[in-house]
Symmetry: C2
């Protein structure tokens, strides 16, 4: 496995001095990087950053595989109830490694269950998915670190009743609760009511749970070789767990992104040229936005900082977003993910009735998508638009594991550069409290008054089309 | 049907004077709006803007319905081959109006075909979808206005061979070509080889084809009542086809978005609180980006202008992007789409084992998602973040048709405000030419040399992890 970061097109000689990065700017971060790395190491050694070591914890796999076997044996469908970090990693890796799985017949799937990740409380969406499944044959993974996530709780309430109406008292067997090892409502329920459960390792925040049961259990259930996933990340860790900026792609890419941001390129596009990697970009979107989008610096100064991550898909978005990337404001940096080889490449055949298409004959579709990525990168350079490319040889459990680990380390390091805490998300609290208040939850009466007061002080402007 | 635009939270009294809009700023656009409207009317009258009148052209429906009936009778699966404007509208409306369709059994679907929209040239993705279908039972809609789109052409070559290998000489019956009425390779092929075909009305650009056979044919095939879709847009047209800024939501929203952009809110988030509307935001992303992201003004001055559209989904992205929206830089305006009533709301039941969840009991999931949208909007206001809300009563063919028409007119009008041509996309040309060159197409040798020269002049920086 060889993953590379091509940052040629980030540099001044490619895109000019205003937005390009110079060698001196990069080397200027060498000393700081060593300092940050040492600090990260110390925190890691003291147990503060357990996500770093998850890929090496192969012992945790056995329990997951045992549970997965039970689920595979008993159920036709598996539904994840969770949101944000409890959903995005599973969706991303499931699409990358089991593309098309849910559309295959049970036989084509080797008897493995389908997997639906439901990460919303739209009743139309939820009811539609339930209607596709048989409650007697469906297993739910209820995933919430705190156990109080209102969306997941609501889903759980509906799903529990739905199963109970079908199977009666044994409904507990249809649920696995994945939550904090010690605290919270779901943990209490597991202990008291006899649900099976898995622990989310202490100290691992929602968006860093890719290598915990949160993602590994559902992925194992649908046949992903999770040991290869972990091995890919573990093997790759030697490239990203050292303090030498110029040979650490996680640190280097963080520095490049940070420099781009300082030059006004505040939108960071991640654009894989692979259908299977589409949702990796979506997973990354949470990681990058929630970790770096912060009001306060680490010492409490007001910053209002953070790049805006945008997920795009090549070639598809060449016909949707690339016009803007080429000609719009100079406020974006594009990171491509290019795949060296596809699992099942397709030859483009001749079609004698149409000589205009002859130039394609003999090429493959894989060649075309690779060429389009190169062509788009070159056209961006022509328009002085910063871009870089992460190359992976193929989409495999190992490369997906490595990519995820790369981005996790990159994000943590970027937190230091932006001088924010990449592990919290205080900005979502306010909305949660208003939700509790508006749902009439006891203890949130003051918040309800506050909401009413906001509304009362605004002049309402509504244009109604009747 | 009553659709409304609530822009309370865009105003200075909600979000402050720096990013908020004042009444005076809006009324300052009244005269200009009348002028632009008159100009639009003149162009419309002279036949330059045919997309405006598509919803009123009910006569076009009969041909589409006849063809759809034939396809329904003969095939189990329908695959759209197209990209950008040839795909996004269909995907958006299909998800909105046939949610879950492809997962249903043939019986549950009322015997109607599944619909796959393939808008990429990833061979893994393409091969996986072909493997789900039986070539003898599959119909392809090949959609390209020019007939030369390289992605669509490549898909067509592979699909044609795949079908021919199964059914032999009658393969033509498995393809419907949707293209220009007179010109291009696909039109020639249709005329010469006997493929069935539909015409994309002259003068309607890719991203404005929602109400043409490009989208209407595939949607009709899967059972969408396309006459209701058109009626929704046609009925709504009276609200958006007049020059009074204060009562025209398309013009007013364009002005609000334009003012927000001028104040530095250059990222425009569209965030429906509805699983079914998720891909409407993705369709809009093309419309807004490709229409407004331009280098030149209409008189040739260099602008490099254009808001960056971002699609998000409520409540899901509250746990992914909202942290950034609340606390990050002041560079975003959020437009929510809120749904009044869901088709199948779900009651949140009691669960006696868990008193911590009691506060939810008696509410519905639909209530929760509506409350979360209100809570998020209020929390944004608390953080001085501009936002507005488009309310629709339900997700129906009529409201979806109206929404699409609203955004189309809004985008055209916004083109005038930004002083760019919203109907072209010159910035994607360069990448296309490089692709032709790298695929060895005759006549593009100079471009190939140009590509080589770009590469030769750059110092390559690649960090390789081996």
């Amino acid at each position: 496995m060889s993953i590379s970061l091509d940052y040629t097109n980030m540099m001044t000689d490619a895109v000019g001095t205003e937005y390009g990065v110079s060698d001196e700017e990069i080397t200027g971060f060498i000393a700081q990087t060593k300092g940050i790395h040492q600090h990260i190491q110390e925190r890691r050694d003291s147990g503060e950053l357990p996500f770093f070591d998850l890929p090496h914890n192969l012992a945790a796999i056995d329990e997951i595989l045992t549970l997965a076997k039970e689920i595979q044996a008993d159920f036709d469908d598996l539904i994840v109830l969770g949101i944000g970090g409890s959903a995005l990693g599973t969706t991303a890796m499931f699409k990358a490694l089991c593309y098309g799985h849910n559309f295959q017949s049970k036989e084509q799937r080797g008897g493995l269950p389908r997997l639906f990740v439901l990460d919303n409380v739209d009743p139309d969406g939820f009811a539609t998915h339930l209607a596709l499944c048989d409650p007697a044959q469906t297993c739910f993974l209820v995933i919430s670190k705190s156990g109080t996530t209102v969306e997941t709780t609501s889903q759980f309430l509906v799903a529990r009743q739905w199963v109970e109406e079908s199977v009666g008292g044994v409904f507990c067997d249809h649920f696995v609760l994945i939550t904090d090892p010690e605290n919270g409502v779901l943990r209490e329920l597991a202990d008291r009511e006899g649900y099976r459960s898995c622990a989310i390792p202490a100290g691992v925040g929602g968006r860093f749970t890719a290598f915990t049961p949160v993602c590994l259990l559902p992925l194992a259930c649908v046949g992903v070789d999770i040991s290869r996933l972990l091995k890919g990340a573990a093997d790759f860790s030697r490239f990203v767990c050292h303090g030498d900026l110029e040979t650490n792609p996680a640190y280097l890419n963080a520095v490049l992104q940070y420099l781009a941001y300082q030059k006004g390129l505040r939108t960071s596009v991640l654009m894989p040229y692979s259908d299977r990697l589409k949702d990796i970009a979506d997973w990354y979107r949470q990681l990058w936005a929630e970790s770096l989008g912060k009001k306060f610096s680490t010492d409490g100064a007001i910053l209002h900082v953070g790049p805006t991550p945008v997920s795009a898909l090549g070639t598809t978005d060449q016909h949707s977003q690339v016009q803007l990337y080429m000609e719009g404001p100079f406020d974006k940096v594009v990171t491509f993910i290019a795949v060296g080889e596809f699992d099942q490449d397709l030859k483009l055949p001749d079609y004698e009735a149409s000589p205009e298409m002859f130039y394609l004959a003999g090429h493959t579709m894989g060649e075309l998508i690779r060429v389009e990525q190169l062509a788009t990168a070159a056209a961006l350079v022509r328009n002085q638009r910063s871009n870089c490319t992460i190359h992976i040889p193929m989409v495999t459990p190992e490369t997906v594991g490595a990519l995820i680990y790369l981005f996790e380390v990159q994000t943590l390091f970027a937190g230091y550069l932006f001088d924010v805490n990449p592990l919290d998300q205080p900005g979502v609290e306010e909305g949660k409290l208003f939700t509790y208040a508006l749902m009439g939850r006891q203890g949130f009466e003051t918040k309800a008054e506050e909401y009413a007061s906001i509304k009362a002080h605004l002049r309402s402007r509504i244009l109604s089309c009747k």
